[in-house]
Structure formats: C-alpha cells, structure tokens
Point group: C2
Chain length 269, copies 2
C-alpha cells in the first residue's frame, strides 16, 4: 500500500483524504426527498465525482452505512469499487478482535468489499492487529493518538516505562509491521501537534492517517510540517467541512472547492 | 440490563453464555452440503434450540456473520430475535468510535437489530463508550483484560499512576456507567484469575462477561469464586467447546450436553 500511496501523492500532489460520513440528517436539499439509502448512494457518488481530482484517498466511515442495514453494508463495497484507481480506499471500521474473528473481518473488508486499507483498534494487542497486516498490497491504520477529547482517558493518562500509551502503541505497530506483507500505519489526530511530531520521530517509516482538521480545528500546515515525509506520507482526512460545505444545489461544487482548498493548504500554497 | 440478567440467572441458576461463532469451515457433517449462509442459519437455530435451557445469554460474534456479506448482517438481527426471552443477547462487535459514528453503531445494534447489549473497545476513551450507555434496558461490556496473548502488549504493559491499564480501564468504565441509563459491564478473561479478582474488588457493581474458559483453558470454578456476586453477576462465555462438541449428526445434543456440563461446573456441582 505504501508505494502506491506514494505514487498517488506524487502524481496528484495532494495529501487530502475525503471522509465519507454521509449523515442522513444532513443531506443537501436536492436529496432530502429521497429514501435514506438512495440519498446516501447519490450523495457519495456526487462527492466522489466532484472531489477525486483533488484527493489521494477516500475514507468510508462504516457506522454511517451499517445504520442503513444490510443494503447499507452492500453499498460499502459498491462505493469502494466506484472510487477511481488513483485514490486509496480506507475502510474506517476500527475493527479489533483476535484469531478467526480478525481474519474474517479482514477477509470481509479486503477480499469481499475490496478496500485497500482499514482502521484497526490496538487495545487487544498484537494478535488483533497482525491479521490486518497479512495481505500484500493492503494496509492497516492503527488507532494511536486520536483527535477526540477521550484521548486523554487512556492514550495520554497511561504510560509504559515512562512512554505515553500513544507512543508505546506507535512503537508496537512499527514492530508488528516490520517484515509484514502489508503496510502498517497510524491514526494520529491533528489536534495534538506535539504528539504528531513525537510519533513521527519514533516511527519514521509509517504512513499516518490524520483526522481532526476542518471541523475539529487542527491546522493543516502544522500537520504537514510535523509529520509528512516523502518516505512516510501523511494522509489528512476531512469529512464534514467537505461533505457539508453547502447544503444547497451546489453541494458537489462546494465540496470540490473545499477539497481543493484543503489540498492547497496542505501544499503550503 | 443488570436487573434482567440477575432475574434470568436466578431463575435458571446458570451463568453460561453460548458464543455463536459459526465457522463455515467447521460446520457439522449434516450441514456441509448447504450453502454457507444456509448452513450458518440452520446451525445457529439448532444450537440455540438445544442450549437455551442451560444458558443465561447468547453472544453473537459479528465477524462470522459479516464475512457472509449483507445477508449475513441481516441474519444477525434474525438470530437475535429467535433467542428466547429468558436469555440475554450480546452483540460481540467490539465497536469503538466517537460522536455520530458511535451513536449510529449503537442505533444499528440496539434499535435495528434488537440486541440487549454490545461489546465496546475503550482505546478512544469516554466519548467512545458513553453512546453505548445511553439507552435504558441495554448494556455495554467494555474490553478490559482480554483472554488473548496480546493482552500483555498494552493492557498489562502500561500503567496509570501505578495502576495497570486494565484496572485503569475498569475504573473508568465504573465512573462512566455511574448514573448512565444503561448498564456498564466489563470483558475480563478467565485466563488471568488474579486480574479477575483484582478487577472485581475495584468494581463491585459491574457485571462481567468472561471469555477464555473451554478451548482457551480458563477454570470455570475459579472464575465464579473470584468474580461472581449476586449484585454483580458474571456471564461465562464458551464458544468452540459447545458449538463443536461433535461434528456429526448429534452436534446439537452434544452442544446441549456441553452447555449443561459448563452450567453445572459454574454452579460448583
């Protein structure tokens, strides 16, 4: 996954990941008369068409599709397939289980739905993460230092031999990824720039998926300065500030503008 | 959820949770010619019919259904509905996300599929757990000290003010559950009996979901002695040693025997 991500970013000069969190209560005006399922599919297609040129990745938040029932689950695979080849697909499913459970989750997300990568929760340790690192050409972004308030409860409050839990997790992922067929990566929020720099220093070879810019307030330029390298790129996710840039007829154009604007800010231009 | 669990356990004098992990590669002989979907449904129905009398709960492992695609997801709700009212239903989905994502996962599992409770991952902190504690008559079992080898990587390796991460998590869940409409509970593996006793002492009011007996080797009687109280009951899960007690025509009877045997060992008789 890493070499493909590098190629895509190099070709498009973009670190933007568009987060597809299609909230049924926030559909733009022209889609409000449709059924939730139909509105979600049309909305995602329009956003992808409008923003793919400025993006290097799309992240699908599974919660927003699972709430639509079995047809919503089917839609996850359909949407993964319509995303252009010059964008990485990220299954934001935050799976975390062991043994056959983890292998079946990985099979479902990579083989059946066809995603390039997946977000994974680290609490259960190595045997919960490794099954997601077992397929060539895929990747796993492991929750490390998240962008929410609750990051303080465990990730910052606990330490391991003097190292904060988030940094301990990052180092473990680096260790588990070593020689794995897939690419290990980290989820590190933009809302804690010092942690971002600290984790980058400890893990110079891992790509980062960075949420928390846009609606959550993280600074895009600071993220790139702290963590992006050619060797270990950063993918910066924005969901709401792109999806809901306008709730009118021009929602797709407004999303395209927001994606281009974020791309340019990440370029430092 | 807690008062209902207490009533069920008191009526049936059973702490057995039957874990439904229907592995398509381990179907009993009479089901092997069926399609994976059909075999899974028939297998789960037979196991439920055969074991419900000896069980206080059924736990559905989402991975084994998600791998079957959208129809597998639909089956989760169907199976939750056929489980008798005198057994608790546990969605073993290990969800862990924040904000609308967590609310949509909770809506999907509790409202759409109709489960009584769900397993939840704590790494992201309070805002990932609380949305699962917001509905009356439901419950959330939060991963605390799991039964796998990887528990050593974070849960045991890290500390918070001298307290192991697993105990810190347990105390946080107790705090977050206080005055919540739902019941907070903990997932604590049978493979670490000292941790089980330590967590029970720190959290005298929380029910435990205990995996790790049976195939994983934990001692059922030691679990009950260390952690079960009338006020805060323990639900002991067994999956493989019940589901695969026989792979022949008598698989349902063998499962019933295995469930009764575990029930009796948990009773200390």
């Amino acid at each position: 996954m890493l070499s493909r991500l590098r190629r895509i970013q190099s070709k498009k000069n973009s670190a933007v990941c568009v987060g597809l969190d299609p909230d049924p209560d926030r559909m733009p005006a022209p889609l409000r008369d449709r059924s939730p399922l139909d509105a979600t599919l049309v909305f995602c297609r329009s956003i992808i068409d409008a923003t793919a040129e400025a993006a290097c990745a799309f992240k699908l938040n599974f919660a927003f599709f699972e709430v639509l029932g079995p047809t919503g689950i089917q839609m996850l695979g359909e949407i993964a397939r319509i995303i252009p080849d010059d964008c990485l697909t990220i299954a934001d499913a935050k799976r975390g289980d062991i043994g056959n459970s983890a292998r079946f989750y990985a099979r479902s997300i990579f083989d059946e739905m066809g995603f390039d990568s997946c977000t994974v929760a680290p609490y259960m340790g190595r045997d919960a993460v490794e099954p997601f690192l077992a397929r060539a050409n895929t990747g796993a972004f492991v929750l490390t230092r998240t962008s929410n308030d609750g990051a303080a409860d465990l990730q910052e409050a606990c330490t391991c031999s003097g190292t904060p839990l988030y940094l301990h997790t990052a180092r473990k992922v680096a260790e588990w990824s070593d020689d794995a067929p897939a690419t290990g990566g980290l989820v590190v929020g933009a809302t804690a720039p010092e942690a971002l720099a600290e984790i980058r220093e400890a893990c110079p070879r891992l790509p980062f998926l960075v949420p928390g810019v846009g609606a959550q307030g993280g600074d895009p330029a600071a993220v790139m300065a702290a963590a992006h390298t050619d060797r270990a790129p950063v993918v910066v996710n924005s969901s709401r500030s792109i999806l809901y840039a306008s709730d009118g007829d021009d929602y797709a154009e407004a999303a395209a503008d927001a994606a281009r604007s974020l791309r340019d800010r990440l370029r430092g231009s």
